[in-house]
Symmetry: C2
Subunit: 418 residues, 2 copies
C-alpha cells in the first residue's frame, strides 16, 4: 500500500487531556539545593536487600500475582500500626491505599473531587507536585496567606467567605502542616484548631499532607489535623519517600470508605510494586526503620544547622530565612525588589548551585520573585557551606539587592563556609 | 469544640470521579484458571536480586532522586533495543514511557484521547483491564466481530461506517493482535494489513497491546501493526509482567512525541519504581532475560498442551476451544444455551476451580454466557489436569449443556487427567 502521511493526534485530544509536560530531567547543580532529595549516603540499601530476600523466600511466589488495588496488605498493616503509634490515627489496613509516592494518591483525590473551575485553597507558597496536579485538573487555586505559624485564620475565613459569595464554595483545603514545603514552618496547635474549626464551620474537607512528620530535629510534636477533626473530613497523606528513598515510590493515604472506593476506581496501574513493598515491609517490620529515621535525622539536623550558619555568614543583612524544626527546606526572603527567578538558570551555569525561586511555588506562578527555597538534604555539610557561599557570590555578581554593597567577608572556600 | 457529625463526601464528587471500585481480592481457587498469572515456580528471584545488588553498588545513590517522568532511562534504552531486535520497531529511549504494568499507560492514553461518549472499537471479547478503563472514561465501546484470525475486516468497516454515519467517528481501535486475551487467536498477516488499511482509510489510531508476544510456543512471527502502518497512528504497548512478573509492575508504551507529551502530563505518581527498574534492567541487560523467556515458554507450552489434552478428555463433545500458539489463555465455547456465568461462584466453592465467564470480557458485560477463559500459566501440569476434570464434574452437576448426558470416562484424579 502507498505510504501514508504522518498521523496527527491533535484533533483527537479529549477535553480532559493534560497539557504537554516537558521531557527529561532539569539540569542539576553539584550544589543541588533545588529538589527535596534526602541524604543519599545513608540510604539503607543493605537492609532493604536483606529484607527483600527474606520476603522472597517467604512469599516470592506472590510476585506472580496481580496484587490488591490498595497495595500489599502487610505493608498497609504496618502503616496502620505506625499511624496509631506516631499520630494517634486509628485506622485499619482496609482504610489505607498505598500508591506511587504521595503523587499518585494526590492524583486520585484531586480527580475524584475537583471539577474544572472548582475552588481549592492552599498555602500561599505550596508543594510543586500539588500545584501541578491542581492545574492539571484546572482547579481555581486560591492562596491562603501564611506566617511563621502557618495559614492565618482571619485571611483564611475571608478567602472562604469570598468564594462562597461568588457561588463557588471551596471544594478542598490542601496543607502541609508540618515542616511545610517550601516555607519550612510548622503549623502551631492553635492554628490547627482554628483551621479545623473553620473547615467544620464551612463544611470543607482538608487534605493533610504530612510527609515530613518523621523528619523532626527539634521541638515538640503537634497533633495531626486528622485527629483534631475526628469527623472524617481530613484526608491524611504520608510517604516512605523521605524516610527510605524517593526511588521506592511508596506513599499512602487514609480517608473514609466513601472516598476510598472512588479513589480505588481512579487508581492507575493496579496495586503497588510488590518488589519494593516486600522490601519496605520487611525492613520496617523487623525494627530497622525507626533507628534509620533517628540516624538520618541526626545527619539532616547537622546539615540544616550547617546551612543556617552558612546563610548567617553569607546572606546576613537584608535577607531573612525560616529556621525549620524538621523537614528539608529553608525558605529565604530577600528584599522586595530582588528577583532571583529570572537569574536562576544563569546562576546554575555560573556557580553550579541549584535552587528554586518563589514563583515555582506560587499559586499564580509569578508571585514571590524575592523568595527562594534551599534544600539541605542531598549535599554533604562541606558542599552546603561552599554552595551557599557560591550563591552569595553569584547574587552579588547579578546585583541582587542585599548582596551588592559589600563583598563576602571571606573567600568562599569550603573551610571558610562551614 | 463540640463533636461534629461524620463528614459526607457525596456532594463533592467531580463529574469525572470514577465509580466505586470494590475493595480486596476476589476469592481464588486452588485450581486457579481465572487470572493470567505466569508460572510462579520459575520466577527469577535470584537473578533479580543479584541484578539489583549490582545496580545498587553502581548507582544506588540515585534512589534518593526523583526520577525522570518517562522512567529509568537505561531500561528505556534496553526496551528500545529489544523492540528493534524483536519487532523491528525503530524508536529511541526518548520515545518510550515506562509505567506501572501496561495498566498505567492504558490510563494515560485513554484519558488523553477519550471523552465521555466517544466511540472506541475493540475485539468482541476484550482484556478486562481495558474494559474497566474504557468504562471509567465513559467510552461508547463498540465490539468488532472476531474469528480465529482476529478482527474481521468486513464487520470492522461496517462498525466504522455506522459510527461515522451517527456523527461519532471512532477515536481509537484497541486490539491485542498476538495471542489475544481472552480468545487466544493470533491475528493473521492479511488481517493485520486489512486492519491497518482501514485505520488509514478512515484515519483512526490503533492501540496495539502486544504484551504476550514474547510467549511464543509455536508458529511463525507476524509483523506488528506498528511496523505495517509506519505513520505513527499505532500506539504500541508491551510489558515485563508476563516475562518477569506482574508484581514488578513494569510496562511500556511508544508513540509519537505529540501523544507522549500529553501522556507524560497524565502520568500519575512520577517516574517508575527505581528499585524494580534497577533489577529488571541489570537482569535483562546481562543476558539473563532471553534464556529465561525460553525457559518459561517451554514450561508454559507444556502446561498449554496439558490443558488441551485435559479438555479433549473431559470437555470433548459439544464444547470447542482455541489452540493458542502462545500466551496464557484457552477460550472455551459451550453450546449456545449453556450459562457458565451464573454458576461461577458456586463452581469455585464446590470444586475449588476458578475461571472467568464470557460476559467478563464482553463490551456489553452480558454477552457470551456460554464462553469461558481458562488460564494455564499458574498451576502445575498435575493441577491443570485435575482442575479441568473437576470443572467438567461441576458443569455436569450444574446441568451445563454438553456435560449432562454422560459421566466423565474416568474418575478425575490427577493421574487420569494428565
Amino acid at each position: 500500500m502507498p505510504k501514508s502521511p504522518p498521523f496527527s493526534y491533535q484533533k483527537l485530544f479529549s477535553r480532559a487531556a493534560a497539557e504537554p509536560f516537558p521531557a527529561g530531567m532539569p539540569p542539576r547543580g553539584k550544589y543541588d539545593f533545588a529538589v527535596a532529595y534526602p541524604d543519599p549516603v545513608s540510604l539503607p540499601y543493605q537492609g532493604l536487600v536483606s529484607a527483600l530476600l527474606t520476603a522472597l523466600a517467604e512469599e516470592g511466589r506472590d510476585l506472580a500475582i496481580y496484587g490488591d488495588i490498595q497495595g500489599y496488605r502487610p505493608l498497609r498493616e504496618y502503616v496502620a500500626a505506625k499511624l496509631a503509634r506516631d499520630r494517634r490515627i486509628k485506622v485499619g489496613a482496609d482504610d489505607i491505599i498505598l500508591g506511587d509516592g504521595s503523587a499518585q494518591p494526590l492524583h486520585m483525590v484531586f480527580e475524584t473531587l475537583v471539577d474544572p473551575g472548582d475552588v481549592v485553597l492552599a498555602e500561599d507558597f505550596v508543594y510543586i507536585g500539588t500545584l501541578r496536579q491542581l492545574r492539571r485538573f484546572r482547579a481555581n487555586l486560591q492562596p491562603v496567606p501564611c506566617d511563621g505559624e502557618g495559614m492565618q485564620p482571619g485571611p483564611l475565613e475571608a478567602v472562604i467567605r469570598r468564594a462562597i459569595a461568588e457561588g463557588k464554595p471551596p471544594k478542598l483545603i490542601y496543607t502541609v502542616p508540618t515542616y511545610q514545603n517550601p516555607q519550612g514552618w510548622t503549623m502551631s496547635l492553635p492554628r490547627r484548631k482554628a483551621l479545623v474549626a473553620l473547615a467544620q464551620k464551612y463544611d470543607i474537607p482538608i487534605l493533610e499532607d504530612d510527609c515530613y512528620w518523621d523528619l523532626r530535629y527539634e521541638g515538640g510534636d503537634v497533633p495531626s489535623l486528622y485527629t483534631l477533626d475526628g469527623t472524617g473530613r481530613v484526608i491524611y497523606f504520608s510517604s516512605f519517600s523521605k524516610i527510605i528513598a524517593p526511588g521506592m515510590r511508596m506513599g499512602y493515604m487514609t480517608a473514609p470508605p466513601q472516598l476510598l472506593e472512588r479513589c480505588r476506581g481512579a487508581k492507575s496501574g493496579g496495586s503497588v510494586n510488590t518488589f519494593a513493598a516486600f522490601a519496605i515491609h520487611r525492613y520496617a517490620k523487623s525494627g530497622q526503620l525507626d533507628p534509620h529515621i533517628r540516624e538520618i535525622n541526626a545527619i539532616q539536623r547537622y546539615k540544616r544547622d550547617t546551612m543556617l550558619q552558612a546563610l548567617e555568614r553569607h546572606f546576613g543583612g537584608q535577607a531573612t530565612w525560616s529556621r525549620p524544626q524538621g523537614g528539608l527546606f529553608i525558605w529565604v526572603k530577600l528584599p522586595p525588589t530582588a528577583d532571583v527567578a529570572g537569574i536562576r538558570d544563569q546562576v546554575l551555569a555560573d556557580v553550579d548551585v541549584g535552587y528554586l525561586p518563589g514563583p515555582a511555588f506560587a499559586t499564580d506562578g509569578v508571585s514571590g520573585k524575592n523568595y527562594l527555597r534551599l534544600c539541605f538534604g542531598y549535599n554533604t555539610p562541606e558542599e552546603i557551606g561552599e554552595g551557599v557561599a557560591r550563591l552569595a557570590v553569584a547574587f552579588r555578581q547579578h546585583g541582587v539587592p542585599g548582596f551588592g554593597r559589600k563583598p563576602a567577608r571571606k573567600r568562599p572556600t569550603a573551610k571558610a563556609a562551614v
